[in-house]
Symmetry: C2
Subunit: 137 residues, 2 copies
């Protein structure tokens, strides 16, 4: 019940990116330096964040990334889903996934989708704008 190191790194990197302002040009090297995330790992992460639609990527010399949405419009849930995949407590909570051997008599399954939604809601209530600021209220 904790997120992976990659997701953790991604959150830190996105927060660093948000502090550069909305339209700033960024690259993986810059973010790695600022956050302390190893460069190859940072490259992998920005790639995932870009393919999830959170960052716009430009290749070649002078390329890089920039945020596609305002920091207040990006939530913690968005970042985690971009790196880890859908937020679902159990496999059976995802639609079109029915490979659970217990599914036949499972009395718990009807509740799991609601639970997943609640957890996702808790994560979606935290915006990147909040995370990029220093101390909480």
């Amino acid at each position: 019940m904790k997120l992976t190191s990659l997701a953790d790194y991604a959150v830190v990197m996105m927060a660093a990116a948000a502090r550069h302002g909305p339209g700033a040009r960024l690259n993986a090297t810059m973010l790695a330096d600022e956050t302390g995330v190893p460069l190859p790992t940072a490259q992998k992460l920005v790639g995932r964040l870009a393919s999830a639609g959170l960052l716009a990527s430009a290749r070649g010399a002078g390329g890089g990334f920039q945020l596609l949405k305002a920091a207040s419009e990006i939530t913690l849930a968005d970042i985690i889903e971009a790196v880890e995949g859908p937020i679902a407590m159990t496999a059976c909570a995802e639609t079109a996934r029915h490979d659970c051997a217990l599914e036949r008599n499972c009395q718990v399954k009807p509740h799991m989708s609601a639970v997943s939604g609640a957890v996702r809601g808790a994560l979606a209530s935290v915006s990147l704008a909040t995370l990029s600021q220093g101390e909480p209220a």
Copy 2:
């Protein structure tokens, strides 16, 4: 951001146990049969649940387990923590864990403990009594 198979199994087994009523004597074999969880795995799980204080164990012939608390007093968070360990989004959210290389300049850390609390709250709001019943409202 999803729980492990073991935690999933543990929830299903605890729900099955709750349906047997408060003081019923149970054993790993019985729960494995009812839920479909493989017996050796079920044994491992009831052991962890017992050492976490959710079940009382009795060894020897005629031994077994029983719930230590009412189903309404046991939450999903309790079960998950018994199997997976503390619910904390990041390592730095746990007190006395300071082995994060990013901690030096981490602007996100101050928020993580609040986020972990919110997720835990979402899981703690679901009681075993609810899970042991069939359909949600």
